[in-house]
């Protein structure tokens, strides 16, 4: 039964029970009461009516407040990131995370293995999050994990599907979009709806997206001089997302200034890690060498750049 049906039912119920008091009195043969008493009765009736409506409104407010309170509490970082498939990391070790949302659409085990090996050989411990673990809560808790390096191998976009205009970059989760989940975050524009394409959208395949405002306001904790490598499309087509990471404590944010293909972003990131960690080059040098040796993306001509620009002079922290 829809809401409209329900309301119609109550309306009909109301119409049925509604009868004029004068008619009732006539039918029952009661004599008319005095004017003063009648006025008092009317006033009393109105007072009761107002009281009833007031109580009803209060009840409604309580119900709605209870719902929103429940929703709010339900979306707090209630779940710890599942590390069951990962190594147990000691508190003071250098930790890196590979968030591999692309494992669902463009799996590349070679990239994961190579990146993990480069990091481990330097003394990093690596937490790997496969695509199905890339949820809203994963992003919510990411800053609390103490990572020095985060590799976001995720779909991302700054393209609005309605008019192709450029907007803030949203990272993809693998969590299906549901308008009844994270309602307060959605209403506050801290979560978006994203789709891989218009075709996928037409099939109803939509997911929760993470805009910069989510990083600013919904991510708990602070990054600890973290370097973020954002491998998805348009990660640095504008600096809003980079600034959000910087505000939350990230030291440098590396990303593409336009769309990028899966193969090219894997190739360049592997190269970049090699230069940054094995050869201890600065971020700027590594990016320039990657551009010189591998070129821009062959399809979209985008390049990997970093923010803030001064971070180009820095190197990656090593154990």
């Amino acid at each position: 039964m829809s809401l409209v049906d329900l309301c119609t039912f109550f309306f009909l119920l109301f119409c049925l029970v509604r009868q004029k008091p004068e008619d009732t009195r006539m039918k029952t043969g009661k004599s008319r009461i005095g004017t003063k008493a009648h006025v008092q009765a009317v006033r009393e009736r109105e007072r009761r009516m107002v009281a009833t409506i007031f109580v009803a409104i209060v009840l409604v407010i309580i119900l709605i407040s209870a719902y929103f309170a429940y929703s709010f509490m339900n979306q707090q970082p209630s779940q710890h990131i599942n590390l069951e498939d990962q190594e147990t990391n000691s508190g003071n070790s250098f930790k890196a995370a590979i968030v591999d949302h692309l494992s669902l659409t463009f799996p590349n085990q070679t990239f994961i293995q190579t990146a993990t090996n480069i990091l481990k050989q330097t003394g990093y411990t690596v937490d790997y999050y496969s695509g199905e673990k890339v949820t809203v809560d994963l992003y919510r808790n990411l800053a609390k994990q103490g990572y020095k390096l985060i590799i976001l191998r995720v779909h991302s976009t700054a393209t609005s599907g309605s008019d192709y205009s450029q907007t803030q970059v949203s990272l993809f989760t693998s969590e299906r979009y549901d308008k009844t989940k994270y309602v307060t975050d959605q209403l506050a524009d801290r979560l978006t709806m994203v789709a891989f394409s218009g075709y996928e959208l037409s099939k109803g395949n939509t997911y929760f997206g993470i805009p910069p405002s989510f990083i600013l306001k919904s991510v708990g904790g602070k990054f600890q001089d973290t370097v973020v490598i954002m491998m998805g499309c348009e990660g640095l087509s504008n600096t809003i997302r980079a600034k959000a990471f910087e505000y939350k404590g990230a030291r440098a944010y590396i990303g593409w200034n336009g769309p990028v293909t899966a193969s090219h972003t894997d190739q360049v990131t592997t190269y970049l890690l090699h230069k940054l960690i094995d050869e201890n080059q600065t971020i700027g040098q590594s990016l320039q060498n990657a551009l010189n040796d591998l070129g821009p993306d062959p399809t979209y001509k985008s390049q990997m750049i970093c923010y803030p620009y001064e971070a180009g002079e820095e190197t990656i922290n090593k154990p």
């Binding site: 409209v4 329900l6 309301c7 509604r18 009833t52 599907g161 394409s197 218009g198 972003t265």
Partner: protein, 177 residues
Amino acid sequence: MKKIPALLFLVLFLTAVFSIKPVTADPGRYTVTIRSGDHIFNATSCVISRDPHWYGFNFVPEINLGPGQEASRTTPDINTELGGTPTDFTMNYVLNGEVKSISIGPVPPLELGKWYPLGSSSIPADVTIVEAAVGVGGIIVPVDKFGLLAPYIGLTSTIVVASVATAVYVKRRKEKQ
């Protein structure tokens, strides 16, 4: 008291309005694009693939004229619509300094992933449309905030209506007695 039916009508109207799903962009119309720099190679049919980054679809044709022979594309981008009228595609390219052309179609209304036979060709080469070089992007879809709130507005309206109706009913019952 006489205003209550009008109020109820208003509540019903608002509930109905918020229950209507907003009209979104027509998902049946997409742009098909052949981009400069694309290639064509041997095949006997063509298929439309999609590029996940963009809202629509794009052709990525390749040309293969045999061992040792390469062709460079000169054709400007070609656009059409999926589900539209039958369409001809003609692509020009340069071979040994000479501009050649190859055509596909006319094809029936285009569908994603369906293979289409080749039409006439002015050179001895076949054409296929292969998988696009895929980006790791997507699109952001605006969230319908009224849609988010509609269930709660409906619930609130229902509770208010129920409360008022009950109050009126109880009051009338008491008056009757």
